[in-house]
Symmetry: C2
Subunit: 201 residues, 2 copies
Amino acid sequence: MPAAALDFWFDFASTYSYPAMIRIRPLAAANGVAVRLRPFLLGPIFKAHGWDTSPFNLYEAKGRYMWRDMERLCAELGLPFRRPEPFPQNSLTAARLALIGLDEGWGDAFCEAVFRAEFGEGRRIDDAATLASILTGLKVDGGRALASAQSDANKARLRAQTDEARRLGLFGAPSFITPDGELFWGNDRLEAALTWVKRKR
Amino acid sequence: MPAAALDFWFDFASTYSYPAMIRIRPLAAANGVAVRLRPFLLGPIFKAHGWDTSPFNLYEAKGRYMWRDMERLCAELGLPFRRPEPFPQNSLTAARLALIGLDEGWGDAFCEAVFRAEFGEGRRIDDAATLASILTGLKVDGGRALASAQSDANKARLRAQTDEARRLGLFGAPSFITPDGELFWGNDRLEAALTWVKRKR
């Protein structure tokens, strides 16, 4: 991993992380910027705000807007879009699996597949069958991967990654952090984050 | 005003409404889109969320990010930026004056001048002296304008405009509403809103 990677922080439950995940690889490659995937959990951060669910559920007008905006955005990108039910999905197991996959070389493909299943096909990512079929599609031994994902060490690792997100000042996803510590929040700031990395070289 | 105007909803206290106000005229003109300025008050809408101040004050990490993002954004646009103290400013009188100015032909220049004073020069827009000096700069009789602004009819008009904002589903500023009713939220969605208006012609 080159030192100058852009950290891409996301939660699998986060709507705008879906287009960000699809867009980041080609855009980063076109800009010669390496990307490091950093799955984390927004839940604990939202809880510290006193929120027990997504702000898109708590604030009705904001939620209504977001769903329409996602429809428009995905149409523009030629991406299929299905509103997940329930929302937000429980992203815990997917995030734990992603950490294992990122160690073992199948993490990028896994993360993209999870987002496509959830937001493109309306599949539940807290359903073991969804995750198993994604792993099978990647030719990964699902039983072994899941056992590693649910190990105490890996659970602690996801907790530590979420703590790091909070320490870095993250409050939403997707978020991008440049090698010199600049935070950019939102799918619509991806281009600005990449431009920042290029300029600082 | 042509029928196909893009409605630009803003609160003078709203940080991201500053770059939106500066950018909208040239961008709209370049796209052949007319713009209608719709000042309103976010306060009553935030109150309905249980917030008694800006969410940027309530949620510390989000606020810290916003100030840094505004710095970067204004630097990129070559706009002066000063963090207003206090934040948010009380925008009531400025909004009432804007309604009068928009009737009388000095509204566009007034709105831009208020944003520049507040976010470019760090002046208080709840200070009568700030508003008076802006009006003088526009060769407007400040005493007369202020009397019209503070009339019961005009106060009711601003309340009605804020009620309309809520009915339209606005939850933040800046917001843009296209002639066919599409809502776009945020300075970073201005281009998307203009593209939408052009395509639907």
